[in-house]
């Protein structure tokens, strides 16, 4: 896409606000619509947009494929790890009251925060990896078929 000047300029301007918006959706999800799933998709969209316009090598300099693959598993581990920590503290699995026994609702805040963070990591990793997998494939057809 070397000749699409407007696309490239607009993309460069847009990528940072998209990531910022994703973080806003993530951390403001307790108070307004949003949460880990939506924020993960938005975060992935920022990388995918960058990849579409500037090419796979450029975006993989920012987020290498191995990082996306590790993120997929790391998010699930953060989620399940939250449950294991609450288990070790002597409560039920995923019972967030354990993180702040005197203030159960504060414990809930911590638990929800950590769990949503795990969801964010997994969803971002999965969406970006799927995009990489599709984009790295060599197209097998001629252009006349359009």
């Amino acid at each position: 896409m070397h000749h699409h000047l407007i696309l490239r300029v607009v993309t460069k301007i847009l990528v940072a606000p998209i990531i910022l918006f994703a973080l806003y959706v993530q951390f403001h999800g307790d108070f307004s619509p949003g949460g880990g799933f939506q924020a993960g998709v938005l975060m992935a969209v920022a990388f995918i947009l960058y990849g579409i316009v500037f090419g796979l090598e450029t975006v993989q300099a920012v987020m290498p494929a191995w990082l996306a693959h590790k993120m997929m598993a790391a998010g699930v581990m953060i989620y399940a790890g939250t449950g294991v920590v609450s288990l070790l503290l002597g409560y039920n699995f995923l019972d967030y009251g354990s993180f702040s026994p005197h203030h159960p609702s504060h414990g809930q805040h911590w638990g929800i925060f950590s769990v949503e963070f795990g969801v964010l990591i997994t969803v971002t990793g999965v969406m970006v990896s799927i995009y990489y997998a599709f984009a790295a494939r060599r197209p097998a057809i001629s252009n006349e078929e359009w």
């Binding site: 108070f31 939506q38 969801v119 969803v123 990896s129 799927i130 997998a133 599709f134 197209p139």
Partner: protein, 189 residues
């Protein structure tokens, strides 16, 4: 009355988009129509008060899914071949299935009924105890992450598993192994 009008006009557009998808043979157009369908359904979800779901649908359906469809199109073909079968048997199957489903809805409570079985069960408990237990304004977030934490963990692992499946199928990580020419390769293409 205004509710009904908005509802019906959104539905008309959704059904029109659906029929356009049925008719269209250019897969590029079909992909665009899918995006339109997602945005329309996001609007409909807002009228149903499901703002979180509408947000997700708009981001996922119109964003990621369009990108994935387009990348699949570049790897496969762009035109659907013209159909060889008559459409009557599928139409019959669809009509019968639709009639059975509509027959099933006849016993359901009216749309928006506050005393429907779906409203009085565990959901009412979540709404009642939530503010005290969680002290968070967004009910969807705290049910998702805390009351229904097990469900969400399962969903997260399903997303992870689907990602692993895609990587195993087409990531090309497997290609490092030496390829043996299989017996019927080359005869196919």
């Amino acid at each position: 009355m205004l509710d009904l009008f908005i509802d019906l006009s959104l539905f008309t557009m959704l059904v029109a988009t659906g029929f356009a998808i049925v008719k269209m043979r250019r897969l590029f157009g079909v992909t665009m129509m899918t995006g339109v369908f997602s945005l329309l359904s996001a609007m409909l979800l807002v009228t149903l008060d499901a703002v979180d779901v509408a947000f997700t649908e708009a981001a996922v359906g119109a964003g990621i899914s369009t990108v994935l469809m387009l990348s699949t199109l570049t790897l496969t073909s762009r035109i659907e071949k013209s159909p060889v079968h008559t459409p009557w048997i599928p139409l019959l199957v669809v009509a019968v299935t639709g009639a059975v489903i509509i027959y099933g809805t006849l016993d359901m409570p009216n749309f928006g009924d506050a005393n429907a079985p779906a409203q009085v069960g565990v959901a009412a408990q979540y709404m009642e105890r939530g503010p005290e237990d969680m002290d968070l304004p967004n009910t969807v977030t705290y049910i998702l992450a805390s009351y229904r934490g097990y469900d969400t963990m399962g969903e997260t692992s399903v997303v992870f598993t689907a990602g692993v499946g895609v990587l195993m199928l087409i990531s090309g990580l497997r290609r490092r192994r030496r390829r043996k020419p299989s017996r019927d390769e080359g005869e196919v293409s």
